[in-house]
């Protein structure tokens, strides 16, 4: 900009006027872009501020460790915390092997050809399916067809399918980042392709794959719509007893408190507490993933 100004000084008056107008447009334009960015940051700040400032008051040791009492107006939300952990864990256990296998197949075995192209389109579209549709699928297939009922199993499987595309794309990114030369080195030593994948490529890609898993944990833990009809209950007495039992879950609990609650005043406060918990869980998990990834990318560029 300074350069443009200096050049303008030597020009005839008309041209100088144009360049002034030009720099005004640039100033306004850049200001608008800054405002857009600021708006995003503002919303993030507003959400974090309101949830944190109002949720903090609701959270104490009892809130974290006790079961709800007095028709959900007192006590804690421990069963919902535990339920969310179970559902998330189940989903990741289900999606991790499938997702990594899919990524390995796509990057190592069949990077080109019609099957890979088909898979890619499939995975991309799976990623775009609305979450409530996953819920309907889970309801029809896991709850009804396989007879798992409304249970941790049904919810975990449903959430697992939802997490698949996240794990696949992160794993793919991690696998393609492993240099081809390392694969060649292994093959040239007489290792078979599987030995190469298992002993060299996967270990090298592990941090990236873990990032994907962490990201998917963040995604899965906060999902509500898929568990509406497959796993969640507003109130379950005590903690979940078996994988086949209904569970309370943090995100569903917030929804239920706000829509089915009978004591809005007290329950909004509990909902704030739940929201803060969920937000803390999801954001810390995502933040870890983001930081790991940044460090990796830096390491990659350095090498």
């Amino acid at each position: 900009m300074t350069a443009a100004g200096a050049a303008g000084a030597g020009l005839p008056v008309r041209a100088r006027g144009r360049s002034k107008r030009r720099s005004l447009a640039q100033k306004l334009g850049f200001a608008a872009l800054g405002a857009c960015m600021a708006a995003n940051v503002f919303f993030l700040g507003a959400i974090l501020f309101f949830i944190a400032s109002r949720g903090l008051g609701a959270i104490n040791w009892a809130f974290l460790t006790q079961v709800p009492r007095d028709s959900m107006t007192a006590g804690g939300v421990a069963p919902a915390i535990v339920g969310t952990l179970y559902l998330t864990l189940g989903a990741v256990l289900f999606a991790l092997p499938l997702g990594v296998a899919c990524a390995v197949y796509l990057t190592e075995y069949s990077p080109k050809g019609w099957s890979a192209a088909l898979l890619r389109v499939g995975v991309n579209n799976l990623a775009g399916v609305p979450s409530v549709v996953f819920g309907l699928f889970g309801l029809t297939v896991f709850v009804k067809y396989f007879g798992f009922g409304v249970s941790i199993v049904s919810g975990s499987l449903t959430l697992g399918i939802l997490a698949l595309p996240v794990i696949i794309s992160a794993s793919q990114e991690a696998l393609t980042a492993v240099p081809q030369s390392v694969r060649e080195a292994s093959l040239a030593l007489g290792a078979t392709q599987w030995e190469t994948i298992r002993r060299v490529v996967l270990p090298a890609a592990l941090p990236g794959i873990l990032t994907g898993v962490i990201l998917s944990v963040g995604r899965v833990a906060g999902e509500t719509a898929p568990i509406l009809f497959t796993a969640a209950a507003f109130y379950v007495r005590g903690f979940p007893q078996s994988p086949m039992s209904e569970v309370m879950a943090l995100p569903y609990h917030i929804y239920a408190l706000m829509t089915e609650g009978t004591h809005p005043e007290i329950q909004t406060r509990i909902a704030y507490g739940c929201s803060l918990l969920l937000l803390a869980l999801v954001l810390s998990v995502s933040l870890i993933a983001i930081l790991i990834r940044q460090r990796q990318r830096k390491a990659c560029h350095a090498a």
Binding site: R22, M37, I47, P130, P165
Partner: protein, 294 residues
């Protein structure tokens, strides 16, 4: 021997890989199988264009037009917010932010994207709705405006991140060529870089739209829930996703209502599917145009 083992491992991986495709196919199959039977009760045309959604009255009426329009209405409003916010942020990151700012702002956007939708919904319900109700002196804060604002904010990081990728693929030489003929940075940005990244940016917008229209919990909580054809942004609406989530619990399995909800899900799936395919096609053409192989 070694060979046979290798080959069976490869096939095992292929089988596991294709499970994701099986799930997608399963979803489509379920939606068709459970959704199509509704047409025994109501004709496809009447279903799509019917203006009255009274699934529990006697006799029930299954016109999804109010729900469809509700979804589109809310999404259109969300676009008005997420396109400027998302694309503007992408341009800001690309053109103005230094490395130190980027190191803070990019994670901030990712964090914004990873806030669970239930939290957005909750925030909309307890903070934004009362606020907008005051500002516009509305009878009720839960309306399509509130839903649009929340959805727009939710979708904007998605739009921003894809649009920024698109911008970063534009070759440096374009920018240098433009600056070299005396254009300033703003002109370079708006007349050279943005058009070059244009289809990438449209991909971003389409995917943002796809995310907004498929969003469930937020609209369920803040859109107001009334199944009426909206006339203004202050009208409460009942988008398709909200109808499914709210009513599935009450609909008797196998009843026309149950099937109608699956049919809505099918409609929703088809709409998002079209969006995703469109985004895919545009981004593929774009890469060819810029000579990028990725």
């Amino acid at each position: 021997m070694k060979n046979r083992k290798e080959r069976s491992i490869k096939y095992a991986f292929a089988a596991l890989a294709f499970s994701s495709l099986v799930f997608l196919a399963g979803i489509v199959l379920v939606l068709f199988m459970e959704g199509l039977p509704v047409f025994r009760t109501v004709g496809p045309w009447a279903f799509l264009t019917g203006r009255r959604w009274y699934p529990t009255s006697v006799p029930p009426e299954f016109g999804v037009l109010p729900l469809l329009l509700g979804s589109l209405w809310v999404t259109a409003g969300a676009l008005l917010i997420c396109v400027p916010l998302g694309v503007g942020s992408a341009l800001y990151l690309h053109e103005l932010a230094g490395p130190r700012q980027r190191a803070v702002l990019k994670p901030a956007l990712e964090i914004l994207a990873s806030v669970p939708s239930i939290v957005y919904g909750f925030f909309g319900m307890v903070i934004l709705a009362p606020f907008l109700q005051n500002v516009f002196s509305l009878p009720i804060g839960l309306c399509s405006l509130t839903a649009s604002v929340i959805l727009g904010v939710m979708a904007s990081p998605t739009v921003a991140s894809i649009a920024e990728d698109a911008l970063s693929y534009v070759p440096r030489s374009f920018r240098e060529a433009s600056l070299a003929v005396g254009a300033d940075r703003w002109q370079t940005l708006t007349r050279v870089i943005m058009p070059a990244a244009g289809s990438g940016i449209s991909t971003a917008v389409i995917l943002g739209m796809s995310r907004a229209i498929g969003e469930t919990m937020t609209v369920l909580m803040v859109a107001g829930g009334s199944a009426m054809i909206p006339h203004s942004f202050f009208d409460p609406v009942r988008p398709m996703t909200a109808a499914i989530a709210a009513e599935m619990g009450e609909a008797a399995v196998g009843s026309p209502h149950y099937h109608a909800l699956f049919a809505i899900a099918l409609l929703l799936f088809l709409v998002t599917f079209l969006f995703n395919i469109a985004a895919e096609l545009i981004s593929r053409r774009y890469r060819v145009k810029l000579g990028l192989s990725r």
